[in-house]
């Protein structure tokens, strides 16, 4: 029923990123989390500007449902590693932003663990320039380091970073262990009106850790990463936030990639108590589990029993793949099915404000090695939507919730500095069009990231992205629309 007509209005071949187009979308299923409405609609875009949105009623809407072509505001990723500067053999601004657009994202927060790290105003400027040069219209939202050199010893020049345009502060994978310093960071960032984003991990509990502590790690002889290492850090952060908000009411703490039931319970309780703490979960922590390390290849929601307890992959006879696949090495590690279920529930009930990808590409040299030597990270920015749609197809999430967690959810975490145009009529269009019914195969041909290896390699996912428009320009276009 849906139809999509693309007309080039400016020079540039079909498929060229950055070009401006006219677009008429008829009888698509529009999800607008800003208006809190979804349904059949027509959209008209002229020279990149969203000219009209017409919600369809009656006969015009007949046969249009949320299983076909979907239009949503462009997604915003709170957590990605684009590896520039210094790591362009793993990813570049160009490939990272191209991958983002393929995943439906029109704005990406880049973590500052680059070489050199983004801990000064000048490096922010260099990263912004690299994004501009890439030609991608996907917006780079740079995150600055919390501490100088991400060394956890003294504050980075947070004011200078704020002036240079960062949207928040994080030391990400090298989380600030010194509680006094972290408290100061929360306070100082609040003065600047920016959130501190913490990767909660007590590093003393995770020395050499390879896999989530549990039966799979025990059977595979992998060093355990206890859930307590995350829950304890979350509890510390929340306790510090409670102190800081008394002094600086604008303080904001965002906890990224929470992966355990215990951490999410802490956040749920803190929010019930009115604390300004937000959090995100990743697609891989809610869809995949530690049993994938042993060779299982079923979704997390298929790996729990009726009581919500993790099933045993050996008993179920589901070990289909070879164990120790390094594409599954990630930090925090893939957890039990019970924890994955907790991540999903947190997303459903709003405890988790957003889904963030923690897109973390690595080179073949860093991944084609022993499991314990492999760099942690899943390059998942292109597969986030598909994994979430698998959960929707399984009846565990609604499409509206998925879109909200990829759009208004993360935008609210970042606050006023980030104001996407999205579906505002008269503004440059910022949206994604995907075909929920169309499956695509995850492999090195389909993925635009440079990252080596993917846990879903060779498998198919629903929701092939057809077109991504960022700030009125083409960021990604599937070959089929040409």
């Amino acid at each position: 029923v849906s139809s999509l007509a693309v007309t080039d209005v400016r020079s540039g071949a079909a498929g060229d990123v950055g070009r401006v187009i006219d677009l008429e979308l008829s009888a698509a299923w529009l999800v607008d989390p800003v208006a809190g409405r979804s349904g059949p609609a027509d959209l008209v875009i002229r020279e990149g500007i969203l000219e009209s949105v017409t919600w369809l009623e009656g006969d015009e809407a007949a046969g249009v449902d949320e299983h076909g072509v979907i239009v949503a505001p462009g997604f915003l990723d709170l957590h990605a590693h684009l590896r520039e500067p210094g790591g362009t053999s793993a990813e570049s601004m160009s490939t990272g932003l191209a991958g983002a657009a393929h995943g439906g994202f029109t704005a990406v927060c880049a973590m500052p663990n680059t070489t050199p790290p983004i801990d000064r105003g000048s490096t922010v400027g260099a990263a912004m320039a690299a994004a501009e040069e890439s030609g991608s219209p996907v917006r780079l939202l740079q995150i600055g380091a919390v501490t100088a050199g991400r060394a956890g010893e003294q504050l980075a020049p947070l004011g200078e970073l704020a002036d240079a345009g960062v949207v928040g502060f994080s030391d990400d994978g090298s989380p600030v262990q010194d509680a006094a310093l972290f408290r100061n960071a929360l306070s100082y960032a609040a003065m600047l009106g920016l959130p501190v984003i913490d990767h909660p991990e007590d590093l003393r509990l995770t020395v050499g850790a390879e896999a989530s502590e549990g039966v799979v790690a025990t059977a595979l002889g992998l060093r355990g990463w206890p859930a307590a290492a995350e829950a304890e850090a979350v509890a510390r952060d929340i306790a510090l936030l409670a102190e800081v908000v008394r002094d600086v009411p604008g303080a904001r703490l965002h906890l990224t990639h929470l992966s355990t039931a215990a951490s999410l319970a802490h956040v749920r309780a803190a929010r019930a108590g009115g604390l300004p703490v937000t959090c995100d979960v990743t697609p891989h922590h809610l869809a995949l589990t530690d049993e994938w390390l042993a060779g299982a290849r079923r979704w997390a929601w298929e790996a729990v029993d009726a009581n919500g307890e993790s099933r045993d992959p050996w008993r179920d006879g589901v070990l289909a793949a070879a164990p120790y696949d390094t594409s599954l090495r990630v930090n925090p590690p893939l957890r039990s099915a019970t924890d994955a279920r907790a991540c999903l529930e947190a997303l459903v009930d709003g405890t988790a404000d957003a889904v963030a990808t923690d897109h973390a590409p690595h080179t073949e040299v860093d991944k084609s090695v022993e499991f314990g030597a492999a760099r942690p990270g899943i390059a998942g920015i292109e597969t986030a939507l598909g994994l979430l749609l698998e959960a929707v197809d399984a009846g565990l999430l609604t499409l509206d919730r998925v879109v909200a967690a990829l759009t208004v959810g993360p935008a609210n975490v970042l606050g006023e500095r980030v104001s996407p145009g999205w579906l505002a009529v008269g503004q440059p269009a910022d949206l994604v069009v995907f075909d929920r019914g169309s499956r695509w195969t995850v492999d090195s041909d389909s993925l635009l990231t440079k990252g080596f290896g993917h846990p879903l390699g060779g498998r198919s996912l629903p929701g092939e992205v057809i077109l991504t428009l960022a700030s009125g320009r083409v960021a990604y276009e599937a070959a089929s629309t040409e």
Binding site: E210, E213, G214, V215, A217, T218, A219, L220, G221, L222, R223, G224, D312, P313, W314, R315, D316, A322, P323, Y324, T326, V365, S368, V369, E370, F371, G372, A373
Partner: protein, 351 residues
């Protein structure tokens, strides 16, 4: 061949012959080109190793001439961790089969110089390695190699994960010495640093497959994670018992396997001292007296005598420590011959 494990119904001889026939049509008796752990072995396959090893023992004992099963075939021992007994055992085993043996010892420093494991494997393959016997400090390392190596990989110990030939030789040794030659219902205790032990993990698969009543015992810090595994069961079904109570573990035991305690455990805060370990968990004559009469004693070696095992127990009448070493050669010969055959390498039969 029937499994002695739980849940196997008794079958008539005719049924068995028919079943065995069906199995041999469906897949070869030994389909494993690599031996990376004992977890993938059916009881029939374990018995095939043991039967083959019994045959090989005659060669080891000098009763029969050496085999030419691996004549002209390159067996490379690639050891990333220092090891004397396992490496020599594989070397002797390969020589009894007339293989061409190459030993490669890689120190930690040369890893840091940067050649990746896969590059090393490709180099050795180009130099004629056809069976790669691998020892590595990282759990799962042989799986990486097996994915790309064109011939056969035998795991000689990976990190905390697996040491399949050790578990098979332990089983072989136990079955030779236990009255009735069966472990069904027999209490077998694994005592010591279970957390860090690849020997313990591989033995859990084989001993439970053999139907033994397996207990693991040690200080709580060195049993981390095993209570949950015991509850889930090995392979999702074969339960074992975890305890910190050495008395409960040893009482009426038919066999006890002591594991090596390493000094690093104190540095990482897992144990107060070796002395405290010896006092609470050391396998002494007094403790062994709690076990069933004639309780067999094993140790994968090398032993810290006076720490995890008292010298008089290690050298005592029930000790199989020396027998383990001798049996190790026969079991490794069996494994080398079987993987060679599955990889299409053998020039002759298993003998």
């Amino acid at each position: 061949v029937t499994s002695p494990g739980a849940g196997t119904r008794a079958r008539s001889g005719e049924d068995q012959a028919e079943a065995a026939d069906a199995v041999s049509r469906a897949e070869p008796a030994w389909p494993h080109r690599h031996l990376l752990d004992t977890d993938v072995l059916s009881w029939a396959q374990i018995e095939l190793v043991l039967d083959t090893a019994r045959h090989m023992a005659g060669i080891v004992a000098g009763e029969r001439p050496r085999s030419t099963a691996l004549h002209g075939i390159g067996v490379t021992n690639l050891f990333y961790e220092a090891s004397t007994r396992t490496r020599v055992s594989f070397e002797v085993a390969a020589k009894h089969l007339s293989a061409d043996v190459v030993n490669v010892a890689v120190s930690g420093s040369s890893i840091e110089k940067g050649e990746s494991l896969l590059d090393t494997m490709r180099t050795l393959e180009a130099l004629g390695a056809r069976i790669l016997v691998m020892r590595h400090a990282t759990s799962g390392a042989p799986y990486l190699v097996a994915r790309e190596f064109r011939f056969a990989v035998v795991n000689a110990g990976d990190g905390w994960h697996a040491h399949p030939t050790q578990a098979l030789l332990d089983l072989y040794t136990l079955l030779r010495h236990i009255p009735g030659a069966s472990l069904r219902g027999r209490k077998v205790v694994i005592l010591g640093d279970v957390l860090h032990s690849r020997v313990a993990r591989s033995n859990l698969w084989t001993l439970t497959a053999a139907g033994a009543d397996v207990w693991v015992c040690g200080p709580s810090t060195l049993l981390r994670g095993f209570e949950a595994w015991a509850a889930a069961g090995v392979g999702g079904e074969r339960r074992f018992t975890v305890t910190t109570d050495v008395r409960a573990a040893l009482v009426d035991a038919d066999a006890v396997m002591a594991l090596r305690i390493q000094k690093e455990r104190m540095a990482s805060g897992l144990l107060p001292s070796l002395g405290e370990y010896a006092a609470r968990f050391g396998l002494t004559r007094e403790r062994l007296a709690m076990a069933a009469p004639g309780c067999l004693v094993l140790h994968p070696g090398p032993m810290n005598e006076g720490v995890e095992i008292a010298p008089d127990v290690a050298a005592g009448p029930a000790s199989l420590v020396t027998a383990q070493v001798g049996n190790g050669v026969a079991v490794r010969m069996a494994v080398l011959a079987l993987v060679a055959s599955a990889a299409g390498l053998s020039t002759g039969g298993p003998t």
